[in-house]
């Protein structure tokens, strides 16, 4: 056994989309201990509630992260609505859920592209991102933006999606489905891909509970904590929602869960479009949250459960707004998965938690 050495990994590294630093303690080629470090891009966005009113802050919330942009505006708006006892129209709930599931598809496709790039499958990376562009086209047609949508408002959404547009979304997703299944085959059946993923970074179901993991990272270890199972909002009207789980607990299991979740999201969108009720898509919200009022909510974002908290102080500015993101919760599990792995597998394990440091630091 060689002498233990500390090897710095990141924050600037070709495989890392965002700045995360790891001090890897290695003996020969084996990682024996890990110390994670973030804190390079803290922007103090939570403090901005002091200078932006409840309606303005929605545009700050969606800029917390470019990938989870819609999800953060959705979660923030929902929490403020709970704070002010506002009930939004059912159509608005459906529209939000449709856009949220589209966000999940685009996030997972983006991640799958990065994963393919990490294990050296360049053409697969390009195919994933090519399909993702088609989802961004839908965003552009609906909201005008491809990344920052500004589609959510406190009380509903900014505009309705009419029947022809909803049908166009269905048709587009249907056309994507066939191509996507071919990509899935490459991810889940190709031998060279399997060689890089199977048995790497294993986490048992017990450890997943112990480390408090969330999202697809946890579901790959057969831990069901999908918030959508609670049936909040439009998700409650789905005929049957079963979370995607895997018993593998390794990098392959994490890819499998995300790959299947894309198809699941397409089915959810199709069902919601079929069931969407007529009516208003917005209810005006006036006034300010009462002093001393507080509310929280949880939302299943592409990376897992996100917790939102808001408290009022009697003015249009909130006293406090808090977002706890999935990566915050998954960092401990990631370090656990890294212990004992080969140095060459570090990049794959780090990527399979789908870390979003922008969200985590805010």
């Amino acid at each position: 056994m060689g002498k233990a050495q500390v090897l710095p990994f990141g924050p600037q590294h070709p495989v890392l989309p965002e700045p995360l630093h790891l001090d890897l303690v290695v003996e020969d080629e084996t990682v024996v201990d890990v110390l994670p470090q973030i804190g390079f891009i803290h922007r103090g966005l939570e403090k901005l509630v002091e200078t932006r009113d409840i309606h303005q802050y929605i545009y700050v919330a969606e800029r917390i992260c470019g990938i989870c942009a819609f999800g953060h505006s959705y979660g923030y708006a929902e929490t403020v609505e709970r704070l002010m006892d506002v009930e939004i129209p059912p159509r608005a709930q459906y529209l939000r859920s449709i856009m949220h599931e589209l966000s999940r598809i685009h996030s997972h496709l983006l991640w799958m592209g990065l994963a393919a790039d990490a294990f050296g499958f360049e053409s697969l990376f390009m195919h994933c991102w090519r399909l993702r562009e088609r989802i961004l086209d839908i965003f552009e047609a609906v909201a005008g933006g491809r990344v920052i949508l500004s589609y959510t408002l406190i009380g509903g959404v900014t505009k309705d999606i009419d029947a022809p547009m909803l049908q166009a979304i269905k048709d587009k997703l249907n056309s994507i489905k066939k191509e996507y299944q071919e990509i899935c085959n490459a991810f889940l059946k190709d031998t060279s891909v399997k060689n890089r993923l199977v048995g790497v970074g294993y986490i048992s179901p017990e450890d997943a509970v112990q480390y408090g993991m969330v999202g697809p990272f946890a579901r790959a270890s057969n831990l069901n904590n999908d918030v959508r199972c609670l049936g909040l909002g439009a998700y409650g009207d789905l005929a049957d929602f079963q979370p995607i789980l895997s018993t593998d607990g390794d990098c392959y299991g994490r890819v499998q869960v995300r790959a299947e979740e894309v198809l699941q999201s397409i089915s959810i969108i199709e069902e919601l479009i079929d069931k969407i009720p007529d009516g208003d898509f917005y209810v005006p919200v006036k006034g300010a949250p009462a002093a001393g009022s507080e509310a929280c909510s949880i939302l299943e974002q592409p990376r897992g459960e996100v917790y939102y908290y808001c408290s009022g102080n009697g003015t249009k500015n909130l006293e406090r707004m808090r977002i706890r993101t999935p990566t915050t919760q998954n960092i401990a599990g990631m370090t656990m998965a890294l212990k004992g792995c080969d140095l060459a597998d570090v990049n794959m394990i780090v990527l399979t938690i789908d870390p979003c440091i922008s969200c985590t630091e805010r």
Partner: protein, 188 residues
């Protein structure tokens, strides 16, 4: 299904044992956060989630850099990020954090400490505005209550006056009637 949220105060000394009980019952510690209050104290929130149950336990009156808060990392290791954050951004004195960055978790400009406890001019203005609004609301409520009281008193007086007038009128009518009868009898 609805989200069942609750906010319940807890004492510092009860925190660790309570968290242990929640863990045994299958709850996950979803997050820990701090809020800087107007009286310069800090409130800490610990959120335990199981299914649709979201229990927020709150420690009030924490003094920056002084009150010792036991770390929950021995029970829920994932909370080390939140505890380092509470220390660096709010100056909360967390004791026993298993992955303690000793104030080096976030990097700030030189001389900046606990930036989330700095009261900005905007925040000060918001607080003054809130106080003004609360004062104006209280004054309005008091005025309305006074007006309502006066109106009630006026109504009672008017009703009494009307009663008296009606009574006098009735008496006058009955006197007239009796005088008429008397005159009639005399004529006969």
């Amino acid at each position: 299904m609805e989200l069942n949220e609750s906010f319940v105060p807890i004492k510092v000394e009860e925190l660790f044992d309570t968290a242990k009980k929640y863990k045994e019952q299958g709850y996950q510690l979803s997050q820990m956060m701090a809020i800087h209050k107007e009286d310069d104290t800090i409130w800490l929130y610990y959120t335990f989630i199981k299914g649709n149950e979201v229990i927020n336990r709150r420690i009030e009156g924490v003094i920056k850099g002084e009150t010792e808060i036991p770390s929950l990392t021995p029970l829920f290791i994932a909370v080390f990020v939140n505890e380092n954050e509470a220390h660096d951004l709010f100056g909360v004195n967390i004791v026993g954090n298993l992955i303690d960055f000793q104030g080096a978790f976030y990097r700030f400009a030189e001389g900046v400490e606990a930036p989330m406890t700095i009261v900005s001019p905007e925040q000060l203005a918001a607080r003054e505005k809130a106080a003004k609004i609360a004062k104006a609301k209280a004054a309005k409520a008091a005025k309305e209550a006074k007006a309502a009281k006066e109106a009630a008193a006026k109504d009672t007086n008017e009703a009494a006056k009307e009663d008296t007038e009606a009574k006098s009128a009735a008496e006058a009518v009955s006197t007239e009637a009796s005088e008429d009868t008397k005159t009639k009898e005399e004529g006969e």
